[in-house]
Symmetry: C2
Subunit: 184 residues, 2 copies
């Protein structure tokens, strides 16, 4: 795992990969799949994410003011489908991490856990914009820390060749994904 | 070219492809490359796009209130690099379309031209949000019509196999692109 310079953090999501959003607040934590994540600015790096108002993640991230963007890879597709098809509210005494045996590690600047075996991670602080959040489920956040698996991202560049199982993934609909393909 | 149901229009961009934004106003027209385009809602379909305030496209699309999202493919990468590296303001008596021999066809509901040989097109009407536009260069728009090249998208599904030159593309930075890869 390598720290990514904040001025190059946009390169982690510029190609439009599907993500896992993690959040935590007051001892509770959750994770959800999210494809509607997009770069918004370079310096300081900002992103937009769309999070439905009915989700448990929304409750946690709004209460805490922070969340993490994790980039899952080809070998994690089944896990992405699992966590994307059930609500964190459906577990009374446990959570998705425990239920599915998903390992995490601590973020540096926020409370949300980071998902092991993903290939990149962005720690984000919400810039409150109540109108966007209320009307469009749209959040704007500043990226305050970023990391990547150096096997596939280093010195500001993705290099997936030889690591097909670590390619990022792109969801279309209904559990259909494409892997990030050949450089061209 | 096949019309795409508006409720399925989000599937054209859900996998995060890089786009060409076209715009037209008062007899002027322009095109620019834009990777920061994202779905925002299903029904009615909405999108977000980030357009720098200094661009000529921004001037045209704000004046007209509409723009189109075109999805270029692998065989158009050189064209995307060309139009993405020069401003429409740099041409006094012509424009990027004429300068680079880029053919277009008419949209149905808006004035912006659509770029031939792209693989999908979304006609968009801006929902005015002056704070987002002024503070973040962020536009919210409703998709009012959508089409796709039926060789690679039909019945709501992308199917690129056998059409590698028609795969959509994903820009990272500095002219480095990945093709949309294998379904997984």
């Amino acid at each position: 795992m390598q720290t990514v310079e904040l001025t190059k953090a946009f390169r982690l999501i510029n190609h439009g990969p599907t993500t896992i959003i993690t959040s935590a607040h007051a001892g509770k934590r959750n994770m959800m799949a999210a494809a509607w994540v997009c770069a918004l600015d370079f310096k300081p790096p900002k992103v937009t994410v769309v999070i439905d108002s009915k989700t448990y993640s929304r409750e946690l991230m709004e209460a805490e003011g922070t969340f993490a963007i994790n980039l899952p890879c080809v070998k994690q597709i089944e896990m992405v489908k699992q966590v994307g098809s059930i609500s964190g509210r459906d577990f009374s005494n446990t959570d998705k991490f425990a239920e599915y045996g998903i390992e995490t590690f601590a973020a540096q600047q926020i409370s949300a856990p980071l998902v092991k075996d993903c290939v990149a991670w962005l720690e984000c602080k919400i810039i409150p914009e109540p109108h966007n959040q209320g009307t469009y489920d749209l959040f704007i956040a500043e990226v305050v820390a970023a990391y990547a698996d150096e096997r596939v991202f280093s010195d500001g560049h993705w290099h997936f060749d030889g690591h097909d199982d670590l390619r990022t993934i792109h969801h279309v609909a209904g559990g259909v994904f494409f892997a990030t393909g050949q450089q061209c």
